[in-house]
Symmetry: C2
Subunit: 209 residues, 2 copies
């Protein structure tokens, strides 16, 4: 992607945070039938690989061959930035609109897994993470479902693992602006209801700028 | 993409609404250097084509040749759906977690435009739409900026137009669930703070189910 230096995100913790905060990746690959894209929730394993699972009926595991390059795209928040947000506009009017956003692109090779153990592990890990977030102490567990039903569900999916080969991350958050304009953009976003992006810009300001 | 019939979105008005509500597309293409993706705000023209512009420094207009197939991916909202959201879980426990989301994939051919008129039109149209949304009566206009500055800005961009060849849209919104579980998912999403998705599910229920 187009990645000017001042927008490049290189902090591994911030990159990991984007993937954890917006786990629904759009996985794209070039196939014989053209570009194919599917939205799939992913989870980062301690070794850095990304795991997930798809329906067996999803043609993706036929169209994409084992070891093929795919691109997993994660995006947390985005919003239009009006020149009106910048106080310095009144001084010189030398501003144009732009768009702020946070994205992580993981290029990697994919391998599909058809064995029950890999499928059980993928579902179990994803479930634990997301149930903890939304249900805390009352988290749903795979063992809550009848064994025959769970076996049938696992039969109907294919697990996979993406081994990253290159990660590009961009935090386009007005960090190339003078401070009063940066603060003005945060205020403008708050007034426009773009809270997630405004919060990300505030956090960035607190840690560095 | 994997598109079971009950999740397929075929209503042109709903598809247009997704693109208008979440205009920051991720444009993906296969190039000699691998898959390339860039987030770019797009606007639908009355003839159905999508227009936008990129920085001239963005390699995209060198890596992708005129007339090449690209994929523009739009996504409005997504969230994890816990089995705990379904009241029928207490009856039979035959539920697993899933993820709800709304996405539109526009496959099309791209043509880059280097003439001043096309660039001015692209910036002007995008600006009008977004300024109206965030600033209404106080909308910023291109003519607010000094002419020399605006000419310099236009010099530094490349416009483009994507002519759609195939559009696939998916509204994965629990519409395959019984009504009490559909309503339960809406409540669960509201409690989890996934307001945009909850609202989309409520709107869908009002218009059809």
């Amino acid at each position: 992607m187009y990645l000017p230096e001042h927008f490049a995100e290189t902090d591994p913790a911030r990159i990991a945070h984007v993937i954890a905060a917006a786990p629904l990746a759009c996985i794209v690959a070039q196939t014989e039938t053209g570009l194919v894209a599917n939205h799939i929730p992913l989870l980062t394993k301690p070794d850095g690989s990304l795991i997930g699972h798809i329906a067996k009926a999803n043609e993706m595991h036929h169209l994409i061959h084992d070891g093929q390059e795919v691109l997993a795209i994660f995006t947390t928040a985005d919003a239009y930035i009006s020149p009106n947000y910048y106080p310095s506009k009144l001084d010189h009017h030398r501003h144009v609109p732009t768009w702020n956003y946070i994205t992580v692109h993981v290029h990697g090779t994919i391998r599909f897994q058809h064995d029950r153990q890999a499928k059980h592990a993928a579902v179990g890990l994803l479930t634990r993470v997301h149930e903890r977030r939304v249900n805390a102490d009352t988290a749903w567990k795979m063992s809550d479902a009848p064994a025959d039903y769970m076996a049938e569900m696992l039969e109907n999916i294919v697990a996979f693992r993406i081994t990253p080969t290159r990660i590009e991350a961009k935090s386009k958050l007005s960090q190339n602006r003078e401070e009063r304009d940066y603060d003005g953009a945060i205020r403008g976003l708050q007034e426009a209801g773009a809270e997630t992006l405004a919060r990300a810009m505030m956090e960035r300001k607190q840690t560095e700028r």
